[in-house]
Symmetry: C2
Subunit: 378 residues, 2 copies
């Protein structure tokens, strides 16, 4: 047992409960915001009215930016940042899935720094803190309401890159399950499994410890129990709540213990072929776990037993996981995503460049190992 | 589901690992300490040498105060505080069980404030922040390395009272399992069950939520699995480690969700009859759970199933808990502790005054309810 110093990081303020979006105005006031730049999905028109109501009530002026598309590009991030600067906003709010929240986080630091998104992609490249950021996830989810990352596609190079900076940690997360009930089945499934990936990857990460494991285990349990419920009964508020909690905890696991190889392998699918982050992760998860099963046997069997409620070896847990994903209509093969088979080597090269998750991985994967995983998943 | 705002509190820096006491000097330097007031148990003479070594290495001057007795009084707290002031210490370190750590926490604020322990007993009565505090538990434990409480007996009034202040939160905890291997069987058992009480009480507390539940559940699991091991094999470093982790997490549960009626009922046993805090909690736990079983049925059955590894109703979990405590030779009846039966009403009056834990309790207990619990436990 080595000596290790550990600092636990967590979004400092969390608001829970159905209808809690109504506290947004108050929270903005608490953070001394006077004009808020709200980034949200175009589709959320009911939510927009709710937002206006809570802001008007507290007499906070606003600029609502609802041009968010899935998997945002550096150009779209820069555009939002320029607007927020022109509009002299002193606080930002991201309402939506990862795309809206990531954009809001980037806007926060683009307001106070002079560069562009591209200048800050990488690790700790942001010189100055941004304005405060309040996150309201409407999917459960990407965990962006707790993480220090904002991901943007560089269109020219067809790669995805994250701004990773301590200045991106949100100050406040509002977890309102009512905002997630209208999420269609597809995104409910793949964002839910994305959160499950954060939970299980942080759980098996080399950087995990007793504290992060407590969080990751609870996240897995909540998601495993509630994702099938919300998939089949979208209006179940209690299950939607539990999914937001699970996704939030999975994000805390991710922040404190990191993610692992699944994320490295999934990243280039987004950059090269526009595959949604959650779909890529979900599809690859069982194949990656299988490829490192000897390193994670005990952990998988322990968690499998806990979340399935019956004695479960590592192999049979992966089997259960495949069944679980099938029930959510997650694609099982890369070939279903119209990815040409002859690009696998190129994809693997992209994956090798996503180095940090590979370093956290319980098993060291070579490029050959990664190619094999893609081939099995094809 | 009500709306609720929640701030998660956690000791910001945690050092883990066998031998990690050797990092004490470095940590003190990090907190800009130049002269440290070390509070420790007299019995820890080997540890004292280790402490001197790490402080000498970093050229930090020190005053070692090792006059700590179990269940410290306000007089002893004031004595230590005066000494630390005279010795011009600018940082404190508590090494030991709850008594040493609580004293160190009190000394921290007595250095910077003018009053005495008695002036600050109660809620948030401390005017100014203290000097930094580093905690090194040698029992697993009281959770004092994470909590904002320092408990002292007022000898005249024969009552126990806590200083509860945001200024008592420790800045750093060093969790070194090697320091706990020499703890005798008795204290290993009752401090371990004390930690279990923190875990289960915070779990069933009205103030619990998805986040604190994750922490409390893991704490219960770690303690349930490892306490019998360390009781029977005191030198098992891995199990001792897990006990420190369990106790730490239980403390985090306590800080964020509070404790409940068990603590209210146990407090006066300490004040009136000098019963060790852990023993009182341990003895009363199953009786209190039984008295509120209808309110906590689901939670007990869920956690019972998880930690015993087999389907377990609430009743049968309490039964398992009694067996578990019996295996640790925890006294089963108040009559074994030479408490006169005719003092029960007086004890119950004392318990009613420990109001906050009673407010957190899932069931509202009247004085009559509490008398009944003591009688069943007699």
């Amino acid at each position: 047992m080595e000596m290790e110093t550990f600092k636990f990081i967590c979004t400092p303020e969390i608001v829970l409960g159905n209808g809690s979006l109504s506290s947004l105005g108050e929270k903005i006031k608490k953070f001394h915001g006077t004009r808020v730049f709200v980034v949200m999905d175009k589709t959320l028109s009911d939510v927009k009215n709710e937002v206006k109501k809570t802001l008007d009530k507290e007499k906070i002026s606003y600029f609502i930016y609802d041009e968010i598309v899935s998997e945002p590009t550096t150009d779209s991030g820069n555009h939002a940042g320029r607007l927020a600067k022109e509009e002299k906003c002193d606080i930002v709010c991201g309402i939506g899935g990862g795309s809206s929240m990531d954009t809001a986080k980037a806007v926060s630091i683009l307001i106070t720094n002079d560069g562009k998104v591209e200048d800050y992609q990488g690790m700790e490249k942001v010189p100055k803190p941004g304005v405060p950021k309040i996150m309201v996830p409407t999917t459960a989810g990407t965990g962006s309401e707790v993480t220090f990352t904002a991901v943007f596609i560089r269109e020219k190079e067809k790669t995805k890159g994250g701004i990773n900076s301590k200045y991106l940690y949100p100050e406040c997360a509002i977890l309102d399950p009512g905002l997630t009930v209208s999420l269609p089945q597809g995104p409910t499934a793949f964002t839910g499994i994305d959160a499950f990936c954060h939970a299980i990857e942080s759980y098996i990460s080399k950087k995990s410890n007793f504290f992060t494991e407590a969080i990751s285990e609870k996240a897995m349990e909540l998601i495993w129990e509630n994702l099938p419920i919300v998939y089949n009964k979208p209006g179940d508020i209690k299950a939607r709540s539990n999914m937001l909690y699970g996704s939030f905890l999975a994000g805390i696991g991710l922040v404190n213990a990191g993610v692992t190889a699944v994320h490295s392998l999934s990243y280039p699918l987004g950059g090269l072929f526009g595959i949604a982050h959650g779909t890529g992760n979900a599809l690859l998860l069982p194949y990656v776990l299988k490829a490192e099963i000897s390193e994670i046997k005990n952990k998988l069997s322990k968690t499998g037993t806990k979340i399935t409620g019956r004695k479960c070896g590592a192999e049979s847990f992966i089997h259960e996981l495949k069944k679980f994903e099938k029930g959510l209509k997650i694609p099982e093969k890369l070939s279903e995503l119209s990815i040409p088979q002859n690009t696998i080597e190129q994809i693997a090269e992209g994956a090798m460049k996503i180095a940090v998750p590979l370093e956290n991985n319980p098993r060291t994967f070579t490029k050959q190992d990664i190619i094999k995983i893609y081939q099995k998943a094809y």
